[in-house]
């Protein structure tokens, strides 16, 4: 289909004036519609379940501890090495399947979700926290194993769904 050819002569002038009038009408009628802005921070946007915010390692309610076994899959899949795991050592010095520290670099994370998808134990998940700005760069590297992220609270049910990888 081809673009329409413009009208000629006096019709062009009338067409032009009509377009000016129509434009004015559109902006005028917009004045009486409800504004589309959400008055942040008094009201916040409801985030969808799959929203990719900050990475967290929640506690498994049955285990009382996180589910990470330090298998290093997330470390290997992360496109820019934002995750670094130190395997914990048992009393005899042998490595045990738990992370001693799970260092997550919030500054380099691109929130791509590959780590969450590759984890076979549902240990990590991307939360809905997106207001993460800080003036202190040392706060950008977080030890998720030390955080003890709780699954309770008002958003407990929502968290459980996300944690278990369920569909809404």
């Amino acid at each position: 289909m081809y673009a329409p050819t413009p009208p000629r002569g006096i019709l062009l002038v009338l067409d032009g004036l009509a377009s000016l009038g129509k434009g004015l009408w559109i902006t005028f009628s917009a004045m009486f519609r409800k504004p589309i802005t959400v008055p942040y921070p008094e009201k916040r946007v409801v985030l969808p379940l799959r929203f990719r915010g900050r990475l967290v390692m929640p506690l498994d309610p049955e285990k009382g501890d996180n589910r990470c076994t330090a298998c290093m899959r997330c470390v290997k899949i992360c496109p820019n090495h934002s995750i670094d795991i130190e395997k914990a050592r048992g009393a005899d010095g042998e490595p045990v399947p738990k992370p001693a520290s799970y260092r997550y670099n919030l500054g380099t994370c691109i929130f791509c979700n590959l780590c969450v998808e590759t984890c076979p134990f549902f240990a990590i998940v991307m939360s809905d926290e997106h207001e993460l700005a800080t003036a202190d760069p040392s706060r950008l590297v977080i030890d998720l194993a030390a955080e003890k992220y709780s699954l309770g609270g008002k958003k407990g049910a929502w968290w459980q769904k996300k944690f278990r990888g369920e569909e809404p």
Binding site: G23, L24, F28, A30, M31, K34, P35, T37, P39
Partner: protein, 348 residues
């Protein structure tokens, strides 16, 4: 004898004249001193109005523009964001005043004041109410159009003194635009003067029928509106001062309060253009029940709303289109309008 308050609201002119006559007779001052004092009074009142108007009109524009764009506009500083302009002025006051090292310092400093002075001088002939005018010159209309052109000097000065080829080009474009759009504006006003039979603002207001000259001079009103819009560098004619176009305008090098003065002058010009249009075409301060000042302000702000509406709807005109519009479209229309008006005045 009606109460002073009623006279103050509804018949200010005779009230002030009475005071002036009393002052002449009773104070023992030489007459020029009494007149000078009264004119100083008018000047102070006009300056106060300029400041309050700027506060209001900037808020008004931002709110109306926001509503047209499905937003809310300023709503945090003061109730409904009314004090936003005060906050912005405070910010501009504490900003660093930067003058380019190679700029012409004296002219650079003077330019905003020339523009503001030209704007301020226009308050002299504007009739705010019945007799509420600083000096109802018998060539009031000519005064308005002529003094409005003084701002061109300020703009050129600002563009030149910035020592920036883009500012200079912007300033020259702006000056050319203002001068070109003067012509259709003058001709439209001339048609009104023909109808009223006088160049005095007060006479024109009184000579109008109650619904104003707008129905008798629809073409003239549109012409005047478009031409004024172009003269105040606003709306679809704001190429010289636009920031997303290539050649930035003459205000580029201005910062802090100097910029604020250009800004203030622009918004006051907006009000004055609307006020002038109200006086000539919409019946000025005339209207039932409410005090004349109220009618004048209501009608003026209605025209201001229309100008804001136009600005936020249309894209910008390109420079050559701007000039073409003025010389090839508006000027012939204005001449035609004048001719038809003259013929009809003679015949009817």
């Amino acid at each position: 004898m009606q109460s002073t308050l009623h006279r103050l609201l509804y018949d200010t002119g005779t009230l002030v004249d009475g005071w002036r006559a009393a002052a002449h007779a009773g104070w023992g001052w030489p007459s020029f001193a009494v007149d000078a004092l009264f004119q100083l009074g008018w000047a102070v009142a006009a300056a106060l109005f300029l400041a309050l108007n700027a506060l209001f009109i900037i808020w008004f524009e931002r709110k109306v523009a926001a509503r047209m764009q499905l937003r809310r506009g300023p709503n945090r500083v003061g109730p409904f964001g009314l004090l936003q302009t005060l906050a912005d002025t405070g910010k501009l006051l504490i900003k660093e005043d930067i003058i380019p090292s190679a700029a012409d310092r004296a002219v650079f400093r003077a330019a905003p004041f020339v523009v503001l002075a030209a704007t301020f001088l226009l308050f002299v002939v504007l009739p705010f109410g019945r007799g509420l005018v600083a000096a109802d010159l018998n060539v009031g209309v000519v005064y308005f159009l002529a003094v409005g052109g003084i701002s061109v000097v300020g703009i050129l000065a600002g563009g030149w003194a910035s020592n920036n080829k883009y500012s200079l080009m912007g300033g020259m474009r702006s000056a050319a635009q203002i001068v070109s759009y003067e012509v259709p504006a003058v001709l439209a006003v001339l048609s009104v003067a023909l109808l009223a039979g006088s160049l005095r603002m007060g006479d024109i207001v009184r000579a109008q029928p109650s619904y104003g000259y707008i129905l008798l001079q629809p073409v003239g009103f549109l012409l005047f509106l478009v031409a004024s819009n172009a003269e105040i560098n606003r709306g679809p004619f704001d190429l010289p001062e636009s920031d997303s176009e290539l050649v930035s305008g003459f205000v580029t090098e201005y910062s802090a309060m100097r910029f604020a003065f250009f800004f203030l002058a622009e918004y006051t010009n907006l009000f004055l253009a609307a006020a002038f249009a109200t006086t000539l075409f919409l019946g000025g301060w005339r209207g039932p029940l409410l005090p004349p000042v109220a009618w004048f302000l209501i009608k003026s702000y209605l025209v201001v709303f229309v100008l804001i509406w136009i600005r936020w709807t249309y894209p910008r005109l390109r420079v050559d289109h701007l000039m073409e519009l003025s010389w090839k479209v508006l000027l012939p229309l204005a001449l035609l309008n004048l001719l038809v008006t003259a013929v009809l005045v003679k015949v009817l």
